[in-house]
């Protein structure tokens, strides 16, 4: 029987397709990763259907690539060796919202657009990255360890536990989800391997059918501050001090390019104007109060912030570039996915290619200079680099993201930015940046530097997926 018919028997005929146009859509994404056509796309509704498909594929050595998000940026969802795409978007239930135990249980197809609105009704939120695409899977964000806007240590490591379908088709659970007797099932470390093994794995060790993710109480009051800087070298110390005193909720840095891209409503004129008038660098810091005496909390935090500002001679403002209502504007965006028609990263030229990695905050300026150098060497205007810096765990480390833009229809442009992207990645890696999620071409760069890690990962892969059917070709598999 043909694959499509077989799969139809598992998920229903209307939830399998092999039409060319659809397959082409799944063959590529916004990354530079080489496109590859799958043979079929299946849309399972539940765990049992996933198990059936995976078991079938495993018996026939057919690759299976899971997709949860409507949009794929970094190549993880491209079926690098063909096979079946398992699109999990039909599994879009929020299974449980548990404010008492601060967690939410979601299926892989639950998006940022869905989750924050739903949780808000109960006064809760899931810590989000910066303006995620609305169709991005919350589970995938957490699984891929995307950095959070709120750098509180107590909020970090949001991904708790999960249920997975292994390559054999059997079910597996991580953390206390392994314990059917547990009510919460929300502690990531129970048996070995723990939840961590499956994070950052891009679906190569198992397909997640649901996950428990940390939820937090939504602040009831917020007060946003903007701290402008001319030089990136001046940013680290204020952030170190602010974070050491445990001040604030959201705290992140955008350069003028990125802030303009987020704020501009009319393109390109408003963007161009904002780019010129916004400070080169802005720390955005949100002071928040929860349920009890929120104004008092904000008041003491503000006082402490002003103390730090006085020590280091910077000025926390309520707006920058004279933009009226900027704080309200940003606050509306802060805990939601992107709301606009065109995703903010694509607004400038249509395509955005980001180099991102971790380093320590005191090294960020050096990396920024290096990125500028590489850009200049490739004839790319440095003013067109979008920079986002995210302190993590009270500034223990800093996530750095450098965006390079091009018109996806201009082959020459694309080629230039592609070269730039590769060079910038190599350079950042040689300077000591940690590429914790080695997407696409980073995989080779990362794993070629880490022979033993690669060998151990292959041992793990062989244990979990000896036929290498789950998203093969990703990471070092």
């Amino acid at each position: 029987m043909a694959m499509k018919e077989e799969l139809a028997g598992m998920v229903g005929a209307e939830y399998v397709t092999d039409d060319r146009e659809t397959l082409e859509k799944y063959s590529r994404d916004y990354s530079f990763v080489q496109p590859r056509m799958p043979s079929c796309v299946a849309y399972p509704k539940n765990t049992a259907e996933i198990q059936a498909v995976v078991k079938y594929a495993n018996e026939r050595l057919i690759p299976v690539t899971p997709r949860s998000s409507g949009t794929s940026f970094y190549g993880a969802g491209i079926p690098s060796q063909g096979g079946i795409i398992l699109d999990l978007s039909r599994m879009n239930r929020i299974l449980e919202i548990d404010g008492r135990n601060k967690k939410v249980k979601v299926e892989p197809g639950v998006t940022w657009a869905q989750v924050e609105d739903e949780l808000e009704k109960q006064g809760l939120m899931v810590c989000n990255p910066l303006l995620p695409h609305p169709s991005k899977s919350v589970l995938t964000s957490a699984m891929e360890r995307e950095p959070l806007l709120i750098p509180k240590s107590e909020y970090s490591e949001t991904f708790l536990t999960t249920e997975l379908v292994l390559a054999s088709g059997d079910l597996f659970w991580t953390g206390t989800a392994m314990g059917k007797g547990m009510k919460g099932q929300n502690f990531p470390d129970a048996l070995i391997p723990s939840t961590r093994l499956f994070l950052g794995a891009q679906g190569t060790l198992g397909i997640m059918t649901w996950a428990n993710i940390k939820a937090e109480w939504l602040p009831t009051r917020d007060k946003l501050f903007f701290i402008p800087f001319e030089r990136i070298e001046d940013i680290a110390e204020p952030i170190y001090r602010i974070q050491r005193r445990m001040l604030g909720n959201e705290c992140f840095v955008l350069n003028s390019f990125n802030l303009a891209a987020i704020l501009a409503e009319k393109w390109p004129e408003e963007f161009d104007s904002l780019r010129e008038t916004l400070p080169p660098w802005t720390i955005i810091l949100c002071l928040s109060g929860l349920h009890r005496l929120p104004e008092e909390k904000i008041a003491y935090e503000e006082e402490a912030l002003m103390e730090v500002a006085s020590e280091l001679h910077f000025e926390p403002l309520r707006t920058v570039a004279g933009i009226p209502g900027l704080d309200s504007t940003i606050l509306r965006m802060l805990r939601k996915p992107w709301q606009g028609d065109s995703y903010w990263k694509f607004r400038y030229q249509g395509a955005c290619h980001e180099v991102f990695f971790y380093t320590t905050l005191d090294n960020v300026a050096g990396f920024a200079r290096a990125m500028n150098e590489v850009a200049a060497e490739n004839g790319y205007p440095t003013k067109d680099i979008g920079v986002y810096l995210q302190p993590v765990e009270r500034a223990r480390v800093c996530f750095c993201q450098f965006g390079f833009y091009c018109d996806p229809n201009d082959a020459k442009e694309v080629s230039r930015v592609h070269n730039l992207y590769l060079e910038a990645s190599e350079w950042a890696m040689s300077m000591g940046g940690l590429f914790a999620t080695p997407y696409g071409p980073w995989a080779d760069m990362v794993y070629s530097r880490a022979a033993t890690y690669t060998a151990v990962m292959k041992v793990v892969k062989n244990a979990f997926d000896p036929n290498n059917i789950l998203n093969p070709g990703k990471l070092c598999f």
Binding site: N186, L191, S194, T359, V456
Partner: protein, 526 residues
């Protein structure tokens, strides 16, 4: 079990170890072997196997060489930190070599700005904290006590007294240097990039720390960790821990402008737990626990007599700290932050119906024992009342699960009391990460004798493991039991782990029988 000291294989191994380390750092003396075979939890009647060799590597390369020898000549080994829980690494087979980490004792670096420390295995929590405090930082210290190995604890258990803010120890491990059973060196996280250093622990990609530990670690069955970077946290206190008095009569009072302890009781455990939940929701405090009354004299009593008098004769603790939430507010930000948190706390205490403990009780206990949870927790004092203790059924999950865990665990304790000693249904609740989840643990004093050992292992342990497997609770004792026993109840995890073990440790020389008993599995399959 008697070990075949002195046969040809023994001599060969001994000579090769000396070739690697030099004669000063290898011993096979029978008296020296006696000193590596027992501790308070080791039952008398179980195998009190003595190792045949104890070795002291001085570097990661030395460790590699030892492991390569072990693979070549097929002798088993395990590694010991302080040896507080030697039971999980003691010798159980012939030719056993214990790797004692005493020469690997450096704090290699403390990065004060980026809040981490790189340590070797024989650095204690106290050493690390003493140095970290000088930089305005600290590390969380677990129940094992500050004299235990910080690295070992980070990769084994680590309840961390300050876990409400600093989390469970598993999440405080950044990059590690890991000598695999074959002698190859695995580096994780940012260490995978030779230019990067230890600063971050994720991945790359799939995170190998997922193999390092779960609730507890693999105890060396997947290799030996020779360095870790451990997270440090902001410390708003003084650079030196302030103390008064002479042992054992000591006080530690932290400056009141930055640290304030509140202890308040409730009519029921449930209500105390709900108060914890409410406080976690408000995100205030630096340390928070619910300790059962039996714990209070455990760390506070300066003598056995004082313990038993106040615990049983006077019932002092039951009367005064039952269902008691203990919280210390920490002034990270400012004085106004302390005022704010006090206001919020008082609000919560009032709303939830809590009652502050009498001042006399507070003054009797807090200055002498509360700040244990910053520097020295209590593990080493647990043997004072009767020589031993029993950790029953420790599990971490939601606060709702805590109550259920106690309710199902207490009947087992009741069944085995005696020989377990009076503990009045202990219920230790330690919330983590602002109470996203919490530890539920029941520790009970027990007499260190054969009868108690027999029942502890043959009786209680069996009941707890059976209960855990039946109700599918992957709790502590279950986690310490070899996976080939418990695996079938947990998605056949033992089959996956066996594959990993076979690939990483082909000759089964890395702390064999612990974590997973490959020989027993092999026989079962045959």
């Amino acid at each position: 079990m008697e070990m075949p000291f002195g046969d040809e294989k023994h001599k060969l191994i001994y000579n090769e170890l000396v070739n690697v380390l030099g004669p000063n750092y290898v011993s096979d003396d029978p008296a020296v072997m006696e000193t590596y075979n027992r501790e308070s939890q080791t039952p008398t009647f179980l195998i009190r196997g003595k190792p045949e060799f104890v070795v002291m590597p001085g570097s990661t390369e030395d460790v590699q060489q030892i492991l390569r020898l072990a693979n070549r000549y097929r002798f088993p080994y395990s590694i010991v930190g302080s040896g507080l829980l030697l039971a999980v690494v003691s010798a159980v087979k012939p030719y056993w070599c214990i790797i004692d980490t005493k020469r690997l004792d450096r704090i290699i670096k403390i990065d004060g700005k980026n809040m981490y420390a790189i340590i070797e295995p024989h650095v204690t929590h106290a050493q690390l904290q003493a140095e970290a405090m000088k930089k305005g930082l600290f590390n969380g210290i677990p129940e094992a006590g500050a004299q235990s190995s910080s690295l070992a604890n980070h990769i084994f258990a680590g309840m961390q007294g300050t876990g409400y803010r600093t989390g469970y120890a598993s999440r405080n491990v950044l990059g590690v240097e890991w000598v695999l059973p074959t002698g190859d060196i695995l580096r994780t996280g940012s260490l995978t990039n030779p230019s990067a250093g230890y600063f971050w622990g994720e991945g790359p990609g799939s995170d190998a720390r997922g193999l390092l530990r779960g609730l507890i670690g693999h105890r060396g069955a997947f290799g030996i960790i020779t360095k870790i970077a451990a997270k440090l946290y902001p410390w708003p206190g003084p650079a030196v821990l302030p103390t008064e008095g002479v042992a054992p009569d000591k006080k530690c009072e932290l400056p009141r402008e930055k640290f304030r302890w509140y202890l308040f009781t409730y009519p029921t455990l449930h209500r105390a737990i709900e108060a914890i939940r409410e406080i976690g929701k408000a995100e205030i405090g630096g340390i928070m626990h619910h300790w059962p009354p039996v714990y209070y004299p455990w760390w506070w009593a300066k003598s056995k007599e004082e313990y038993w008098r106040t615990w049983t004769t006077e019932e002092y603790w039951q009367r005064n700290v039952k269902n008691c939430v203990a919280i210390c507010l920490w002034g990270y930000t400012s004085e106004k932050q302390m005022e704010y948190e006090e206001k919020v706390l008082k609000q919560i205490i009032k709303e939830t119906g809590g009652k502050l403990i009498p001042d006399e009780v507070y003054q009797r206990w807090v200055p002498y024992a509360a700040n244990n949870w910053v520097r020295d927790t209590n593990g080493n004092r647990m043997a004072r009342p009767a020589g031993g203790y029993y950790i029953s059924d420790m599990a971490i999950d939601s606060l709702d699960d805590c109550e259920r865990n106690f309710e199902s665990g207490w009947p087992i304790l009741d069944k085995y009391t005696p020989p377990l000693l009076h503990s009045d249904h202990p219920a230790w609740v330690a919330p983590y990460d602002f109470a996203h989840y919490a530890l539920a643990e029941m520790d009970v004093p027990r007499e260190k004798d054969d009868e108690s050992d027999l029942i502890a292992v043959g009786g209680i342990l069996h009941d707890v493991i059976t209960k855990s497997a039946e109700s599918q609770l992957p709790a502590f004792l279950l986690s310490t039991s070899p996976y080939d026993r418990s695996g079938p109840a947990f998605a056949n995890i033992h089959l996956l782990v066996a594959k990993l073990k076979k690939a990483l440790d082909p000759y089964n020389v890395a702390n064999p029988t612990r974590f997973i008993n490959m020989e027993r599995m092999g026989k079962a399959e045959a």
